[in-house]
Every structure is written in C-alpha cells, then in structure tokens.
C-alpha cells in the first residue's frame, strides 16, 4: 500500500485535549501523537461489531 495524506479535522476542544497529551510528553507533536495512536491501537478481533 502506498503512503498517503489524511486531513484530520479537529475543533479547538479536541485539539486542546491532544495538545495536553503532547505537553504531557506523549509525543513531540500532534502529528506524532496521531501516529503513536495508530501504532498502539489494536484492530478489532474478527467478528466483533465495529460499533462497540
């Protein structure tokens, strides 16, 4: 699969929460934080409904 760019749209409340995580040392930037979330998230087990 090729690389790609996704625009993540955030309001200021959502951005504030993530920026606090950055300030807390979770990642050096918002973009890095998003990539960390991707890396640390687990795909749903097969058969589990996606709405949970």
């Amino acid at each position: 699969m090729a690389g790609r760019t996704i625009k993540l749209w955030l309001n200021h409340q959502q951005q504030e929460l993530l920026e606090r995580a950055v300030a807390d040392g979770a990642a050096p930037s918002l973009e890095a934080l998003v990539k960390r979330a991707l890396a640390e998230s687990q795909p749903l087990p097969a058969g589990q409904p996606e709405v949970k």
């Binding site: 699969m1 993540l8 955030l10 309001n11 990539k35 979330a37 991707l38 890396a39 996606e50």
Partner: protein, 313 residues
C-alpha cells in the same frame, strides 16, 4: 459497633407512609428491615437549597445499576456533588433503574382509582417542608432487586432481605432525606406485601467519616452563585425573555485541519483500524475515532465520563 450506639432519632415507617428527615453533615441514617423483604424508595435534597437533589442518572453512571456499600448518592448537574455515602449495606441489592411507582401505574395497569404509590408518598412526606408533587425526583430504590436482560429490558424480581438487614447512609452535607415504604403491595418488588421499616439517626464517629473516600472537588461543580440565572422561577407559564442572548460555552466550534502524512506501513495500519462500517470512506472521521479511542484507553480511568473516585477498599 453501631448497634451499641444510641440513636438520636428513631421512627417506624408504617406501610403507605414516608418521613422527611433533617440530617446534618456527619450524621448517619440507618434504614432497617423490621420484618424483611420491603423495598424502600429514597430521595434527598440539599437542606439549604432544594434545587440540589439526588440524581439517579448520575449515581447510575458512576456506580452502575446496583449501587451498594462503598458508593455515593450524587446530586444532579451542574452540582454533581456526593451528597451521601453508603457506609453499610447488609443485603446489597438496590436499584437506580426504575422510577418511583405512581398513581398512574396502579390505575392503568391494575384499575385502582387510588392506591399507595411511591410518588404520592414521597410527595406527602416532603410537603412538610413546603415542596410540591412536582418536586419529587426519581428514587434510589433500596432492597429492590432488578435485572437487565440481554435485550435491554429492565425487570423486577422478588427479594430476600431479612429482618435486621440495613443500609447506613452518611450525610456528606446537610440534607433533607425522604425515605418511604414502597407502596407496591401487588407486585413482586416487596414480595407482594407491605411491611414497616425502622429509621434511626446516629452521629458518625471520626473514624466513620475518615473512611469515606475522597471525591473530586472541581470547578465544574457549580452552584447558584455561578449561574447566569440563579433566580428560582416563581410562575408556571413559560415566556421567552426578549432580552435573551445565548451564551453556549466554547462556541462556535469550527474545525481546522491537521495534515497527517502516512507512509505505506502507517497507511496500511490505518486501513486495518478504520471502522468502515460506521464511517464508510470518511477517512477523517475514522482517524479521529482511532486517535480519541487511543486517548480514552491511555488517559480515561473512569467509565462513561464518571468522576474519578478513590475507593476505600
């Protein structure tokens, strides 16, 4: 230890009745089965501001469907304070799913013109303090056994509380407590019968107060001094205020884009994680879900937005 102590107040609630009781902060209300198998509906108000009252919804969100020993009775937003603490609960089955029973229920389902019911009993008991039938709130249903089915229905089952089973509630603020003997004699709530209930008030010891877990003290726990409109409305008609200008917090809420460049491996990871059933081809929403779900897992250590509480045990 508690049983050796002399109560400062004692009352037997007879079937069909309730009792409004003033409790000062640091007093314990014991609600005890005289014969067993009797549901008790319960409500409480801030004694100095009746607009702050116990809220089953908040209590349910924080402690689940069956709050018992070690949990709190919370007031409604925007107050959201711990009003009382369940220091002891010898039976351990309560309910915050069902509303109080009402006259409508007994008329519609059973054909009664009049029948004992928790709404009207609560209403009559709190009338002593100038409150109206519209001031009754959903009750904390003590000794009431309920289940939730997998299909999502709530059901009532029979109960097995015994003579002498009791619940001790510590007042964490001055409250007007209103327990009543549930009026449901034709339901399984109290095993198709009505029995008296003993009420006692004790002074809590320093050790008992010290055993109450800490609860949050947050800016969001607002009181009338924080309200834009703190006046209690005294008329029944609702009429628009022509000078009203809305002040919704943090609005407007425009969104700004953050460009995330994914390499091939990250893009593949995103595809594996994206909840396409919900979001379809909306990559933005799918990625936002991933990020905030990650945040929840990492930082949110209380369920469903409930306040964090340090537990005693």
């Amino acid at each position: 230890m508690m049983s050796e102590r002399q109560p400062v107040f004692e009352w037997i609630m007879q079937p069909g009745t309730g009792k409004a009781l003033e409790l000062r902060k640091g007093q314990i209300l014991r609600i005890e089965q005289v014969l067993g198998a009797q549901c008790v509906d319960f409500n409480c108000f801030n004694l100095h501001d009746y607009k702050e009252f116990m809220h089953c919804g908040r209590t349910r969100t924080v402690h689940g469907f069956n709050p018992s020993k070690g949990t709190f009775l919370w007031s409604a937003p925007p107050r959201e304070r711990a009003m009382m603490y369940i220091a002891e609960d010898t039976y351990g089955r309560n309910d915050v799913l069902f509303p109080r029973c009402s006259a409508y229920l007994y008329e519609s389902a059973y054909g009664y013109h009049t029948h004992t019911n928790c709404h009207d009993i609560q209403s009559e008991a709190q009338r002593e303090y100038g409150l109206t039938p519209d001031d009754v709130h959903d009750s904390f249903n003590m000794f009431m056994c309920t289940d939730v089915t997998l299909e999502g229905s709530a059901t009532i089952t029979r109960q097995q509380s015994q003579k002498g089973d009791y619940i001790d509630l510590i007042a964490l603020m001055d409250v007007l407590a209103v327990p009543n003997v549930c009026g449901a004699d034709v339901m399984r709530t109290s095993n198709f019968g009505l029995k008296p209930i003993r009420l006692q008030i004790f002074e809590a010891t320093e050790a008992e107060m010290a055993a109450v877990p800490d609860t949050p003290s947050l800016r969001s726990q607002r009181t009338p001094k924080d309200f834009v409109n703190s006046e209690i409305k005294a008329t029944r008609e609702l009429v628009a205020d022509t000078s009203y200008v809305p002040h919704f917090v943090n609005t407007p809420l425009p969104e700004t884009p953050l460009e995330i460049e994914l390499d091939a491996a990250e893009a593949a990871r995103f595809e594996a994680l994206a909840r396409r059933t919900i979001y379809g081809d909306d990559d933005n929403s799918a990625l936002r879900d991933i990020v905030f779900s990650w945040w929840e897992n990492r930082y949110l250590n209380s369920a469903s937005g409930a306040p964090r509480i340090s537990t005693a045990d």
